[in-house]
């Protein structure tokens, strides 16, 4: 049986990798220069986290792969990212709401992983944590500003939240590997994060005047590698060069 930590490392690494790839598409297109720079910088941080997690996964898997080969030579069903991060960019409201939901989950997850019994999991998480705290502050203040902004900005943020909601549940889906990791005190059960994450969202909603959807119908399957159609398009673009010219270098 394979080391369950691979499951955790892929889950963390793939979430960061896919969201970094998605955000980077805004480079040169964001509504304001400040947001353009912010999205590129957040992507850069997430790419750094993906490199650490995927490098860790490759190291414990011992199959001669590295972070790059894991990023560029796996197919959709081998990816372990949540369904939220693979939602299309659509517009700035959707991109920002997706980032905000991710940041709230990510910060909570990293706080818990920083206490992991596994030294390397704890170290990577502590490193990422200081950066993600900054991400969350930015997306939170923007969501509050736009939610409590004009009628148009409020409606668009609320629509984005409603549209993304069922995919957000993907972060809280448990698997057999998670049970093993929980027993080893390596990582928390994904579902156990939901109450505190929801509470934080509701707190911010007081200021943003947005409303957290009540439905708890979640799109599932990402932990088994069942993804939405859009991940295929993301990978096609991201992996094209390495698939066409394998091992090409800068």
């Amino acid at each position: 049986m394979s080391d369950p930590r691979i499951h955790l490392a892929l889950r963390m690494g793939d979430n960061s990798l896919i969201l970094a790839q998605q955000n980077s598409k805004w480079c040169g297109h964001a509504p304001t220069l400040e947001e353009d720079i912010a999205l590129a910088n957040v992507s850069l941080d997430l790419m750094g986290h993906a490199q650490m997690w995927l490098g860790f996964a490759a190291e414990i898997e011992c199959e001669g792969r590295n972070a790059d080969t894991l990023a560029f030579f796996r197919d959709t069903e081998e990816f372990r990212n949540s369904l939220l991060v693979e939602r299309p960019n659509v517009d700035f409201a959707t991109t920002l709401m997706r980032q905000y939901l991710f940041d709230v989950w990510h910060l909570e997850q990293l706080l818990l992983l920083s206490q992991s019994s596994d030294t390397l999991v704890a170290e990577i998480s502590q490193k990422a944590l200081v950066e993600v705290r900054y991400h969350r502050e930015r997306s939170q203040s923007l969501v509050i500003r736009l939610g409590d902004g004009t009628i148009d900005s409020h409606n668009r943020m609320q629509e984005a939240l409603n549209a993304l909601w069922s995919y957000f549940g993907s972060f809280f889906e448990d698997s057999k590997d998670d049970e093993l990791l929980f027993d080893l005190q390596t990582s928390p059960m994904p579902s156990s994060l939901y109450p505190s994450v929801l509470e934080q969202l509701n707190q911010d909603c007081v200021l943003s005047t947005l409303k957290t959807p009540e439905s708890e119908f979640w799109q599932k399957g990402a932990v088994q590698g069942h993804h939405t159609e859009n991940l295929g398009y993301i990978l096609a673009e991201m992996q094209y060069l390495q698939r066409t010219y394998p091992n090409s270098k800068w």
């Binding site: 850069l44 170290e123 502050e137």
Partner: protein, 151 residues
């Protein structure tokens, strides 16, 4: 060549993005050890995705090679995690003089404008020209300036 000499060579290498700071000022050199097969230099990254990390390693190699030290390895260490608290006091003073407001722990932004020292400052952008900086503006002298983000 002893460990201390190697350490001082490595610590005096300038930061590629903010050359008034040395790697020693920045606090990213976490140790130099003598092993059987040469020196082992422990370096910690500032930001995990920072493109300067690779350049830093190249510059360390260059500095050591020009001091005729050929047997060494550079090892990346993550812990203890780098934060702006690792920047030395002299490093902070150099930043200020260079026109970058130094990190101001416990506050939302810089203490004052690095140009005219006015405390009437406001944020333009939470992110700036490099991963470690944010863009601020002085209300007094109206100059924009970089702020070294507090991590």
């Amino acid at each position: 060549m002893d460990v201390l000499t190697v350490k001082s060579i490595v610590e005096s290498v300038p930061d590629p993005e903010i050359p008034v700071l040395t790697l020693g000022d920045l606090g990213v050199i976490r140790g130099v050890h003598e092993r059987d097969d040469g020196f082992e230099i422990h370096v910690t990254p500032t930001y995990s995705g920072c493109p300067a990390t690779r350049v830093i390693n190249e510059m360390i190699s260059e500095a050591l090679l020009s001091a005729h030290i050929e047997k060494f390895t550079i090892k990346k260490v993550l812990s203890p995690v780098w934060s702006t608290q690792w920047i030395s006091e002299s490093g902070k003073a150099k930043l200020e003089e260079y026109g970058i407001a130094p990190p101001n722990p416990g506050a939302k932004g810089p203490k004052s404008c690095p140009q005219c020292k006015s405390t009437r400052v406001s944020e333009i952008s939470a992110f700036g020209s490099t991963p470690c900086q944010a863009l601020w503006r002085c209300q007094e002298c109206l100059e924009p300036f970089n702020y070294f983000k507090c991590l």
